[in-house]
Assembly symmetry: C2
Homo-oligomer: 228 residues x 2
């Protein structure tokens, strides 16, 4: 539905198909070598500046990716959910992590050790191409995101964030995210976000229940986002 109203592709990363339908030997290699792990809500998967030990497959739960700026203020530039790969960029660029990844909910991960992952892309062309395609696609998404930050108002960015968050949570329009995280995602202060949400509520675009946002009228939000 929302896809007809909104060009979602240019606005979302979606790297959840990199590991599907791999040849059997790959799948069994992963099964054999993967390290399963669980983290609680709020815990950090890896920190900015540290050295990658592998890539993570998020089995259940949701995480935020952010870098830390002035006064320790978080800037969330991406949310990931089930079946997405996390932490592959820095492994591929052979650098330390450029950002921190922390859990928004309780999470389960499979850690694929560095050498396993690297040997996989060394031996499996299909996977290498998927990776390349995925990362190249993200380039366009980032282009869009920086433009939106540079040119759009807080009100417009907030509307856009709700549209994206509805898709991300995919739960009857219910969005569960703290005001702090939400404001870091939009790139504004908590207070400005709260006021904008209040406006959208008044206008009948959303409902607010115990800090949960429920979308009511996406078309109004699309109009408010002023994206085209």
């Amino acid at each position: 539905m929302i896809n007809t109203l909104f060009p979602c592709k240019r606005y979302s990363f979606a790297n959840d198909t990199i590991l599907v339908d791999l040849p059997n030997d790959m799948t069994s290699l992963i099964e054999e070598r993967k390290i399963s792990m669980k983290l609680k809500k709020g815990q950090v998967l890896f920190y900015e500046g540290t050295i990658p030990t592998g890539v993570y497959v998020l089995k259940t739960g949701k995480v935020k990716k952010y870098s830390t700026g002035l006064n320790g203020k978080e800037h969330i530039f991406y949310l990931a959910k089930e079946n997405e790969i996390v932490g592959h960029h820095c492994l591929l660029s052979k650098e330390t992590y450029a950002h921190t990844t922390a859990c928004l909910t309780d999470c389960e991960f499979d850690l694929i050790p560095k050498e396993v992952f690297l040997s996989m892309i060394e031996n499996d062309h299909e996977m290498l191409h998927r990776l390349l395609k995925s990362i190249s696609h993200e380039f366009g998404v980032f282009t869009n995101n920086t433009r939106i930050l540079a040119q759009h108002s807080v009100r417009e960015r907030t509307a856009l964030s709700i549209i994206k968050l509805e898709r991300f949570f995919d739960n009857d329009g219910c969005i569960k995210l703290s005001r702090k995280d939400h404001s870091s995602l939009v790139g504004t202060s908590i207070e400005s976000l709260v006021r904008t949400l209040h406006d959208f509520k008044e206008e009948g675009a959303i409902e607010l229940r115990e800090s949960i946002i429920i979308t009511k009228d996406i078309e109004k939000l699309v109009k408010a986002s002023n994206f085209m």
Copy 2:
């Protein structure tokens, strides 16, 4: 010098080593199939939304990459110069161009046709890895850029832009860029940029001569950028 004052790497793309020291058969393949072309200052190399026909190697000159937003306002997210590859992302993601590329100066390009480039990455692992590394690195740079847009003031971003532009032009501190382009790069209005430049001049950080910026005191700019 500036490298000691400033962590340049996290702030610059630098994809100028992808094609150097390739095996002889690659180099001769490129030589054989490349199409040389020249464009005048102001001309467009390719437009947002069109289909890629190959990748371009910028031999001489400088270009801007931008996407067009509200009211046709440009958002410049990257400047490229001699020896950089342009237009490879969309070829790899198999999408239409996510942005426009236009010449800031007279330019010379080598166009490597799509099928030649794709066969190169198919057959040369080294190049594939360089590409992957380069694009993954850009991910971290973009992370930084969005954070700077979200959290830093126009004054801070302007200072940062001058520091980056000095490196980019690499010409005794002389920066030649129109106010319009410069403001699109910083993500602000022309007037706000002009006023900020005026301030930096007053403070002795830069000089302004016939619309050219000459850096005088980088340390002052680093301080003004407030980047750490």
